[in-house]
Subunit: 449 residues, 2 copies
């Protein structure tokens, strides 16, 4: 970091708090390419300017300049679907199919262990992992969403907290009524908070009554709140939907009027052409979780077909219990590889497309595209730096492709959230890593039989 | 590292050069589970004993003991297929199909740039990356195989060098005759070397005459040398084979008598049930390269079906030009995920199976299973340690699954090759990283137009 004491001489220049310079910057703004010899100026919590080093230094005078010698600057990643606290079940139930995994492992484990302290410690661990892999905004769907929101605030990152609406009684809510009640209170608490969005989190069409679906529709319009739901996760779910509704989950939501720009449909590994068209017509967002869908043998979301229809696709890690990491760049790579295989076309989902899915498309899905998702003047300074000096990146012909196709999570060196440096050369600034790991060790000993 | 000066007091104990202790050891030996509170004793280049810390310390007296506090010990990984020097083309031609990639990018690039210095510098870079990601033995198929063998020797790791037998003239050989001639000389040079195996490397059935295939069969039996060939890489190759031979590549090799335990068939994304049976009957080895096959949209090797038939499957990274990294643990994860999707069964290819593919099965494919591939008494001390203290591994219920399903290449802390520590807490001991990166920077500037 260089201090720039002499900014008296720069009267014509705009003031900035700091400038970061790096050999490459990928803003992900529409129509832009990788900027070489780049810089970005930050004032307060927002981006004041993005361009070449020369451009930025001719327009801004900053109190500090940080020069990164071998890094690529990118927007902070947006993890559009997960269950942060479930990180405490990471690796507990391996190599099992979705229904067995839920019925025989996850749900009994949750019944036994989930309380507010579980959610606090598990979410903290997840946030640590997410920051270290470049995620500055995450969506969460889990019990005790008020605890999740607090943890995100404490860490200094952004979150969409989708509170559970699920018909079976659980540690957090004895009924859907109680869920709604607590969810509304939560929404009220964060009504004016720029970092926390509160959304409806109906688990799935099979775990909610039609009556409650109708309520969600009404309330979501009243509160202008998003809805995130697991939908068509695998063939077994689809079969269950048909047995129950006489039609698919997508058609059922359509019949009840829920398909719309506030809906975030997670997984959707099984979609007909007509359902894809319904998503497009209604501006539904799709959240693709390739690793979880593969690991649970659920299927592959038809990303190329959705993109052709004009549907916005974001990426999610899902919970660490079915992944087993919260590494969104890895999801981006897998999304690209799977699409190429699925279409038998190596040009499908190129690196640029999957990077957009991990950034601006995620912001769009969460209704935050005017604030985050790309490095553009006026947007929040949510930004990451990836150090590409390692031998596994050389010779660096194409920084964008290489970031996607190398395991880059461990190369994320810096993370800024709303202008605040919360990961500084791999050191966490907003959280106490040692204390968090200690709490996790305690949970390991408790959970392990 | 602790020095143990007082080994006069241990007259009943067997002497060992050093002992490594770690909380976990996965030997990959048949029928063994993860050993907790483990240790391994090394004498000279070989493993003297493997067991719990208590067992090993009650049997051996070592001059040094290295205590790793948060690590898993594993056999060195075996990368059974690659083109090391092509690392210099990493990221040069992205998101293109196999035939375009070869005809319009790779082959013209090779014609322009490949010479002995290209192969030296590219192979060095690849070896650096492979050691850092835990690979202690690799198979290579490229021009100037004598240079590749020298580089492997210098780095202290093991290699199978498959010399090219390809019918079009190239920088290394004007004709297949010259290729054979140089290959025989190379075989002769390393006849008694325990670290270098020289094999035949016919590129593919479509790039060689039947006459040369027949010669390879005869010579491979005479020299007891292996044969590695790209086979049924994608549907287009299969079509070409049918046009040329009136049958598939596998059937063609079968008709000419080449299917046998010396044959290593790389890729095989397209196989009929009969061809799988032919592989099983003839003990052919399959080398699965999941990332490359996905990235080039070639297809997916039917691993579950091959395993059920009893065929040995190893893993390869292929070259970095179609991957873009040399990270075998990542290939293991992708092999598991793809098999689960392909079979619509989350129990397919569990973590243990893909770890075997990355270690003992690779050793078996290269004919080295009596020497490497598992941590067993009498085998070479080719071993790695992975540091699982990072938050992305916690809480650690299942070290094996977590190593496979986390991007673990950057967590490889130590690598021993034949008892020699060549990566010591991420520091390369046998190679000059700075000098290698400098040579690579020069190649980047030359190749980049």
């Amino acid at each position: 970091m260089q201090e720039n004491p002499d900014n008296s001489a720069s009267a014509d220049l705009l003031p900035a708090d700091f400038i970061v310079e790096a050999p490459w910057l990928i803003s992900v703004a529409a129509g832009t390419a990788t900027i070489e010899d780049a810089a970005i100026a930050i004032t307060g919590t927002t981006i004041a300017g993005v361009g070449t080093r020369k451009e930025i230094n001719s327009r801004f005078s900053a109190r500090r300049t940080q020069i990164l010698q071998s890094h690529v600057l990118l927007p902070g990643l947006v993890n559009a679907h997960g269950h942060a606290a479930m990180t405490l079940f990471r690796g507990y139930a391996e190599d099992t199919n979705l229904q067995t995994w839920l019925n025989e492992a996850i749900w009994p484990l949750e019944a036994k262990w989930v309380d507010d302290s579980f959610v606090r410690d598990g979410t903290r661990l997840a946030i640590v992992e997410m920051i270290r892999s470049g995620i500055t905004c995450f969506s969460d769907m889990y019990y005790y969403p008020e605890v999740v929101a607090e943890q995100a605030k404490e860490a200094g990152i952004r979150a969409q907290v989708a509170f559970p609406v699920i018909q079976f009684p659980n540690a957090w809510s004895a009924s859907t009524e109680e869920g709604f009640h607590k969810g509304f209170a939560l929404h009220d608490t964060y009504r004016n908070d720029p970092h926390i969005e509160v959304a409806f989190g109906p688990h799935s069409v099979y775990a909610i009554t039609d009556d409650d679906l109708d309520k969600i529709l009404t309330y979501s319009e009243e509160l202008d709140a998003n809805i995130q739901i697991h939908l068509h996760e695998n063939a077994a779910e689809l079969k269950e939907n048909h047995a129950r509704f006489g039609t698919s989950g997508v058609e059922h939501l359509n019949q009840r009027g829920l398909l719309g720009p506030r809906l975030q449909a997670v997984h959707t590994t099984q979609l007909t052409a007509k359902e894809i068209e319904l998503f497009a017509q209604n501006n539904v967002h799709v959240i693709h979780c390739p690793t979880s869908n593969a690991k649970l043998a659920s299927g592959v979301c038809p990303t190329s077909e959705l993109i052709e229809a004009g549907v916005n696709i974001a990426l999610g890690t899902d919970g660490a219990a079915s992944n087993n990491t919260l590494d969104l760049l890895n999801e981006a790579r897998l999304a690209s590889l799977m699409a190429k295989l699925q279409r038998q076309d190596a040009t499908a989902l190129p690196a640029r497309t999957v990077l957009e899915m991990a950034t601006i498309n995620g912001a769009r899905a969460l209704g935050l595209a005017d604030q985050i998702g790309s490095l553009e003047t006026g947007k929040a300074a949510d930004m990451i730096a990836i150090d590409v000096s390692g031998p596994e990146y050389q010779p660096l012909f194409d920084p964008l492709a290489q970031i996607i196709h190398t395991s880059s999570a461990s190369a994320v060196s810096h993370v800024w959230a709303a202008g605040d440096c919360i990961l500084d050369n791999r050191v966490l600034r907003s959280l106490d890593l040692a204390a968090i790991l200690q709490s996790v060790a305690m949970w390991r000993d408790r959970i392990k039989r």
